[in-house]
């Protein structure tokens, strides 16, 4: 990866349409790398739903707007993992020899529809025969998972609130963030319950915004950037769309785990994200990571809900299953912890413009690994100290798709 850019994520941005958001993010990345649009050989676009855009084939529209007409392009969709999967697809465009430089860009303008309608539209991304007509919507599905996680492992609402406090607080130093907030655990606990145990301040935002990343083959990367970052490996997996269909089996183990740890755990049930674990396992294997707790220096995890961040600590192997609540309680994912998570605010506070999100994570990770946080965010406050390796992680549909990418400073 040789450059990235993003727009300031906003609740409503009527001034710039999705195409212009993409262009703003791209102009930033081009300037940062000294590249011209003509240097880009093709693109992969990412957005979640036609229903949110009120425009179909929106990928092609942004493609010509930014000046890529006449070059290969296609759109990736995978729910909340859309951006993360598009980023991986751009990697594959290069790894397969199709292109030497590829732009991955993602966008979403979620302000076209109201919040309740937005919930409804996103809920149509669950089984339209069996789940959605119950009044199913995504906060409820994640809440069902959180309830069970609390039951299995003793995770508390207070621990969930700590994630919110951390991420909103981190965002105070991120000028791109939509909702920086200096809040307390009590503020979170007292915010209105949306779907028990998930409260308003446990939930990510709906945003208008875009992000992009320019990827290149190793050889070409060197000619554009003095500080490229290596996409070390990609991993992804899937699971059943319906929570009710999730199996009760055994944990796919990471190299630093053993079966004894989970003798009585029926996995994944609805407490954990099997696809997240499988995606991480694949990415770690390809990257040669045998102990993620020691080798990974930071992570951008998919915190659509605070509970999901806690679950992701476990899925990614940052701690054993069941220890996710304690992980945040012990401050290990804090900015000064041993594996800082969502240093820029995550989806909770940076924003969640669905198609853009996974690529936004890649850009933050890129800046962290380059050590250029001061340059892009205006201060060093959020810079992880000398990071060597980081991961980005996103998912869709309570884990129906998950993507984990390992990035390395070189």
């Amino acid at each position: 990866m040789i450059a990235g850019g993003m727009t300031h994520f906003k609740k409503i941005n009527f001034n710039d349409d999705f195409r212009l958001n993409v262009k703003h993010s791209l102009d930033y990345a081009l300037k940062d790398s000294g590249m011209k649009i003509g240097d880009i050989e093709g693109s992969v676009s990412a957005y979640f739903s036609d229903h949110l855009q009120g425009q179909l084939i929106a990928g092609a529209m942004s493609n010509d707007f930014i000046g890529l007409a006449g070059k290969p392009s296609k759109r990736i969709e995978g729910g909340g993992a859309t951006g993360g999967l598009a980023f991986q697809t751009a990697y594959e465009e290069i790894a397969s020899g199709t292109m030497d430089t590829c732009l991955a860009y993602g966008f979403e303008n979620m302000s076209h529809v109201g919040t309740w309608r937005g919930n409804d539209i996103i809920a149509l991304g669950s089984d339209a025969s069996f789940d959605y007509p119950l009044g199913g919507f995504y906060t409820a599905y994640y809440a069902l998972m959180a309830t069970r996680h609390m039951y299995e492992f003793g995770t508390t609402e207070k621990q969930m609130a700590m994630v919110s406090v951390k991420n909103h607080g981190n965002a105070m130093y991120n000028p791109y963030a939509q909702a920086p907030m200096d809040i307390t655990v009590d503020d979170v606990l007292k915010s209105p319950v949306v779907s028990s145990p998930i409260k308003m301040l446990d939930i990510c935002l709906m945003s208008d915004g875009a992000a992009c990343a320019i990827l290149a083959s190793e050889e070409v990367a060197k000619s554009y950037s003095g500080k490229p970052v290596l996409i070390k490996s990609i991993g992804s997996s899937s699971d059943t769309m319906r929570l009710a269909d999730r199996p009760f089996g055994t944990v796919p183990l990471l190299p630093n785990e053993n079966p004894e740890m989970y003798r009585n755990l029926k996995y994944p049930g609805v407490h954990s994200f099997r696809a997240g674990r499988l995606a991480a396992k694949m990415a770690y294997r390809k990257a040669g990571i045998s102990n993620p707790q020691k080798e990974i220096d930071f992570a951008e995890l998919y915190d659509a809900y605070t509970s999901a961040e806690i679950q992701a600590y476990e899925d990614m192997g940052f701690c054993q299953y069941g220890q996710g609540g304690k992980f945040i309680e012990d401050g290990r994912s804090m900015l000064d912890g041993d594996i800082p998570v969502n240093m820029e605010g995550g989806l909770q506070a940076s924003g969640h413009a669905i198609g853009a999100t996974g690529i936004m994570q890649a850009v933050y990770a890129f800046w962290q690994l380059q050590g250029t946080v001061h340059k892009h965010l205006g201060s060093n406050r959020l810079q992880v100290k000398n990071p060597h390796m980081g991961i980005i992680h996103s998912h869709a549909g309570t884990g129906a798709y998950e993507a984990v990418t390992v990035m390395e400073a070189v």
């Binding site: 009527f14 001034n15 009120g54 109201g114 309740w116 309608r117 919930n119 409804d120 539209i121 996103i122 809920a123 339209a128 025969s129 069996f130 789940d131 007509p133 119950l134 009044g135 199913g136 919507f137 906060t139 409820a140 809440a143 069902l144 998972m145 959180a146 309830t147 069970r148 039951y151 209105p192 319950v193 949306v194 779907s195 028990s196 145990p197 998930i198 059943t240 319906r242 929570l243 009710a244 269909d245 999730r246 199996p247 009760f248 049930g269 609805v270």
Partner: protein, 149 residues
């Protein structure tokens, strides 16, 4: 869509309505929805590997074989729950309501449904619940719901 209602200028924002009638076929899942009207809650048993699905599924996701219909026990336990105070637009009039994942004895996977309780009752993991059926079919999965046993 097509004609705009002016919402604001600078920038110019118009409101468009988009509406569609969807003909939604339950296709191979039709027996499940039909039988709810007869007070039967169908699950599926794989003819080949024997897996018993708590949510109707005409083909086995593990071995690919066709399944056969089976009656689920009408009594089960709450595997997880949530009470919704917000929702999507369509269900705005229904809040608050409680969703549960139900586990049935001897069945290998779960079933999602609504749980109705008396005022003051609280859902709990492990609580016994029993299926009820709507008298007038809506031809949706809401034709079955659960109450405390």
């Amino acid at each position: 869509m097509g004609y705009g209602k002016l919402l604001k200028i600078d920038p110019l924002v118009v409101e468009w309505n988009y509406t569609t009638e969807y003909r939604h076929s339950y296709a191979e899942d039709s027996p499940f929805f039909m039988e709810l009207g007869r007070g039967r809650l169908l699950g599926s048993r794989c003819k080949s590997c024997g897996f018993k699905y708590g949510t109707y599924r005409k083909y086995c996701m593990y071995c690919g074989s066709e399944t056969e219909d089976m009656d689920l026990p009408l009594q089960g336990k709450v595997h997880s729950f949530t009470t919704c105070y917000y929702s999507g637009e369509t269900f705005r009039g229904d809040v608050p309501y409680t969703l549960v994942l139900v586990e049935f004895p001897g069945i290998d996977s779960l079933f999602m449904s609504r749980l109705f309780m008396n005022h003051g009752e609280k859902p709990k993991i492990g609580m016994d619940v029993v299926a009820q059926f709507k008298k007038f079919q809506t031809f949706t999965v809401n034709d079955v719901y659960f109450v405390p046993a």
